[in-house]
């Protein structure tokens, strides 16, 4: 993919290294001259010095038809202009903005920039998800939080232990996408049996998440 990174400070260096490792083609634009020089030397690549909220800067940097632009400015208005110019004038397919003010996430969505995030919003969501239950190891929202991936460990005395997936009678629908059964990874079908200490990766809607966790953690009556 061709990815444009516009603005930003300390996080840019990390992003460049991460994305380069995955062999993406990068265009980096920053309006701090010294930081441009540092990024350029540290990553052995050319970095464009200029204001990414100016049309001519984006043009000079050659961002036309890139797959993604990431706007990382500390000023949310600048991020809006960067994303909109990239999409409307240069045919960039997707614009992602990292915002300073979490309230602007909704504003950006209303103004056509659908993938806007703020660090404080992500932190709040993470804390919320972690605190639902202790056994919930990890949880990840995708597709605008319409789908959630949960990783849950099956306890030794869980009622579902020893039963095949097709024998379960869950209160809501969900999909077990894979099972970590040290050292192997099992892609399950209906006849796969759940064992204690299995780690299940579950796909569900956020609304059903709690009910599913309660179901999988229910202790066996006769235990």
């Amino acid at each position: 993919m061709r990815i444009v990174i516009a603005g930003g400070s300390s996080e840019v260096d990390y992003l460049i290294k991460l994305l380069k490792k995955r062999h993406h083609q990068l265009i980096v634009i920053n309006k701090e001259r010294e930081y441009c020089e540092y990024l350029s030397t540290a990553n052995e690549m050319s970095v464009f010095f200029g204001d990414p909220s100016r049309k001519y800067t984006l043009e000079d940097a050659g961002i036309a038809n890139s797959d993604v632009i990431v706007a990382l400015s500390a000023n949310d208005a600048e991020n809006l202009v960067i994303c909109q110019l990239a999409k409307r004038c240069f045919g960039v397919k997707k614009a992602i903005a990292i915002l300073r003010n979490p309230k602007n996430v909704n504003v950006f969505r209303n103004l056509g920039v659908n993938t806007a995030f703020s660090a404080s919003m992500l932190i709040a969501q993470t804390i919320e998800k972690l605190s639902i239950v202790d056994e919930l190891v990890q949880s990840l929202s995708i597709e605008d939080e319409k789908i959630v991936l949960s990783e849950i460990k099956i306890a030794a005395d869980a009622a579902v232990g020893g039963r095949a997936l097709r024998e379960l009678d869950p209160p809501v629908n969900f999909i077990v996408s894979c099972i970590f059964r040290d050292p192997e990874v099992v892609i399950p079908n209906g006849s796969t049996t759940i064992r204690p200490d299995d780690k299940l990766v579950i796909v569900s809607t956020p609304a059903d998440q709690e009910a599913i966790l309660a179901f999988l953690q229910k202790k066996a009556d006769h235990a």
């Binding site: 909220s53 049309k55 000023n75 208005a77 809006l80 202009v81 110019l85 309230k103 103004l111």
Partner: protein, 141 residues
């Protein structure tokens, strides 16, 4: 809900001048700037409201009464802020008349709409230059 307020955002010389003029003509004006000091530019004849705050926070715009605004005028010294305010006013709050000052004409494509009127100091200066120089200047070219 009755929409009768006018929000003037960014009190440089231009914004302050407009705020005072509209207030004198009897309009219900709310002047907003992130800097407390800016309000000194408002003449004594200004009788509207004054609000200190960052307009990139929608709560400030709501407190200022953007839902009851018939007109929003964005005249901060930052083109990007003026664009964002203009978009929020026209597209989210349905304000019927929005003005904004834009130094960079390239950005006008982002706010093209029937209700949004950009003002370009560059174009105005060029027009004034041509007017003062007159047709004579044209001949000598």
């Amino acid at each position: 809900m009755k929409r009768d307020k006018i929000l003037v955002i960014g009190l440089g010389r231009f914004g302050s001048g407009i705020a005072v003029r509209l207030s004198l003509s009897g309009e219900d004006v709310i002047a907003i700037d992130k800097d407390d000091d800016s309000f000194r530019k408002l003449a004594d004849t200004y009788s509207g409201y004054q609000l200190v705050g960052d307009v990139l926070d929608v709560d400030i715009l709501e407190n200022a009464g953007i839902r009851q605004a018939k007109t929003v005028i964005a005249t901060t010294d930052d083109d990007n802020v003026n664009i964002m305010v203009a978009e929020i006013a026209s597209r989210i709050y349905g304000v019927q008349e929005v003005f904004l000052r834009l130094v960079d004409q390239d950005k006008a494509v982002l706010i093209e709409s029937q209700n949004v009127h950009p003002i370009f100091p560059y174009l105005l200066s060029m027009a004034e230059f041509d007017r003062i120089r007159g047709p004579k200047g044209g001949e000598s070219r």
